[in-house]
Assembly symmetry: C2
Homo-oligomer: 479 residues x 2
Amino acid sequence: MFTNSMPRYEILSPEAMATLDRGWRRIVSELGIEFAKPEAVEMFKAAGQRVDGEKVFFDPEFVLEQVAKAPSQFNIQARNHANDVIIGGDNMVFSSVYGPPFFRRGDVRREGSMDDFRDFAKLAQSFKAMDSVGGVVVEPGDAALDSRHLDMLFAAFTLTDKIVMGNVVSEINAKDTLAMGEIVFGGRAAIEETPFCINLINCNSPLRWDDRMLDSLMEYARAGQPVICTPFLLMGAMSPVSIPSALAQQIAEALTGIALAQLVRPGTPVVFGSFLSNIDMQSGSPQFGTPESGIGLLATGQIARHFKLPFRGGGGLNSSQVPDAQSAYESMMTMMPTFLSGTNFVMHTAGWLEGGLVSSIEKYVIDVQILESLQHEFTPIHFDDEALAFGAHEEVGHAGHFLGAMHTMERFRDCFYRPFLSSSDNFERWTRNGSKDTAVRAAEIAEKKIEEYEKPAMDSAMEQELLEYVNRRRTELGD
Amino acid sequence: MFTNSMPRYEILSPEAMATLDRGWRRIVSELGIEFAKPEAVEMFKAAGQRVDGEKVFFDPEFVLEQVAKAPSQFNIQARNHANDVIIGGDNMVFSSVYGPPFFRRGDVRREGSMDDFRDFAKLAQSFKAMDSVGGVVVEPGDAALDSRHLDMLFAAFTLTDKIVMGNVVSEINAKDTLAMGEIVFGGRAAIEETPFCINLINCNSPLRWDDRMLDSLMEYARAGQPVICTPFLLMGAMSPVSIPSALAQQIAEALTGIALAQLVRPGTPVVFGSFLSNIDMQSGSPQFGTPESGIGLLATGQIARHFKLPFRGGGGLNSSQVPDAQSAYESMMTMMPTFLSGTNFVMHTAGWLEGGLVSSIEKYVIDVQILESLQHEFTPIHFDDEALAFGAHEEVGHAGHFLGAMHTMERFRDCFYRPFLSSSDNFERWTRNGSKDTAVRAAEIAEKKIEEYEKPAMDSAMEQELLEYVNRRRTELGD
């Protein structure tokens, strides 16, 4: 897994942090946060917080006490323990795009399918830089609505041996996720000891946690599985058109969700989530890869560290309709701050297109190329007298070249990062090879990866048990 | 002009800086630097440095004494003083691509022409974010070799009222640049008082300054015009395959060029130049937008600040053959560190394609979009209690939306950066509008900008004098 030992880029002054601190405290105490689940409200009430219907008015110190119970770092186990990850600290974990209903490859844009899901799972497994296929890498429109979570989990568990994200659509789906995890990881005690999935709990921003999300949060928390409490903030729609205001709201929402997880089970692994961008104020469309979202990401990393919490954010977000220049510069506009802020869990790393409506095969490959490059850029280099290579300068002298120098010959194989997608072919060679732009080459790489994909070994009895669980539950769910 | 008040991202530890310090001192003192101009060697000898043929062996303390004479910040005047710039400090100045022999628009790739040059000049004038058309935004292959510098300068002076870069091909060209500057800015004393051009002096790396470059350096230094002393380092070819080694070499080359400028005229405004990337070790092709070049850029900014010198580097560098995803992510891979390192003078900001062989109309527009976005991202936001917009939260409450909130209504026009190229149109609308990808839209924007371009006013006597100078010199040069 990747560890980011480069410095963090922090942009908030102590005064700015103090302003934000006043902001979230005022929101949770004066306006309160709605929890659309009576059990949650009761728990807060029992813990001494003032409640009024679904609204909970928090003592900020109580929130901080709960938050302090969360670990600053925790492990998630993968089926192949070589792919286990650590969430928190300097570690960065990269997961695929999550949620798009549509699929795109070349000029074809259509509803996603289970076959598409499986192709993405194969890509996630094939690319070393990716830590997870994620949860819903594309919505499989051809699978029955009530049971498709079973199909996706089965695919993720069998086609990859990396960590998975749990399904959060309902308490039922969360329970199914846990049951399948128990099959793979050896029972409830084993998954409670070391979690196997990580789970996205979105806030119905502003200031409301909805019932299904809370069902999932509580179900996963009871099982000791990590929850990412994520305010969903498109400034202008779900938050005011002011970055400081959105950041204060984000703290208020994230911390109160985290507080609930700690009430359910003290020590529940949690992640301070951020999904912060803005809408185009003229069309109302969400925009991604914006300057505002970059600032938000840098600020959020600093805020999460202030609360000693792991942090989720960033990824290859963009608004573009096709895997073109815009899709790439907007993605970089987010991915670079993702690294600069040391984001611990990165959803939407690869495949995101069209504002998150489309999972794109080409974009997946492009994003992995960006990811690999940034992983190299954010790896510290060693400065010592040997690295100065004075001998090479002595050998080559003035106006010569280093191509054949001893120092070069000894290192040429791995001295520089070698991209797998980017081309530096000269124009003649590039033309001779078919004048293929990046998207065309990306599609070819994806095809080859999927073709050459090898299914990771799984105990056949375990696979059978998983399959039987899926089939039994599918019947029970009426599909 | 743009001022970058965000923090600098510094990646070199004090130990790394000390290692580099040992490195460059050893190179200049033990290996020496070649100066292919007897006059330069004589000056160093007269100043007490040991020389052997073209090689000068430096006392590092002497180099530092000379460097200390250079201003850490200086002004360059434009024809329209509203476009004057400051080089140094937190200021960032953005200039166009420089040097490509080829031009590309759509699927047409051909030799550049003076018409192309003029189109780029119009774009540079039209986009507020750009500070200069630069020097050779594209090589006009249809203009006579010996006099094309006159045509380019005439175009830059008359079609734009922003700062220009001087021609550096020969001492003759430098003299012509100065003479034309004297016409525009009111004589030699006026341009010596405040320089009007900035001039790229490349090192013939490793460790050699060539005669023509030194001719130009000395000619410009005598006239008090700024010189950018730029080691030209493609690691693996012009420097060892080690970033620390390349950085030490870069310091050795840049500082000795700067020392010469100070000997010629103490106080000559100079810029610590950097053009640092690597070759593909299998094909030998130069690669741009690489992780290594990003690290080099961040490190170089820190190094230049250490020597209290303004710094040139970065831009929209990439290896791609077309303005596609690769061209954009590689450009961002350079432009983001360009901002993070607070680069004072940014060449190649817009238009660079195909490893610098091609000036692309579409890429010019794409790069300006990237530039504008980053300028917004690197503008600090104000954190105070008003920015927390608590009233907006009170108004909207829980699970509502902020679209119609008073706070939003008062600010919706300028609360977020609004891109001029990026599209967040929904798929239906985008399809209805012709399914245009970024490059197609960029070409349309360029066309419109060129069509709507208005020539900035110039005193007709001055324009006539410039034209007469160009025509007279063209005849004298035999074209």
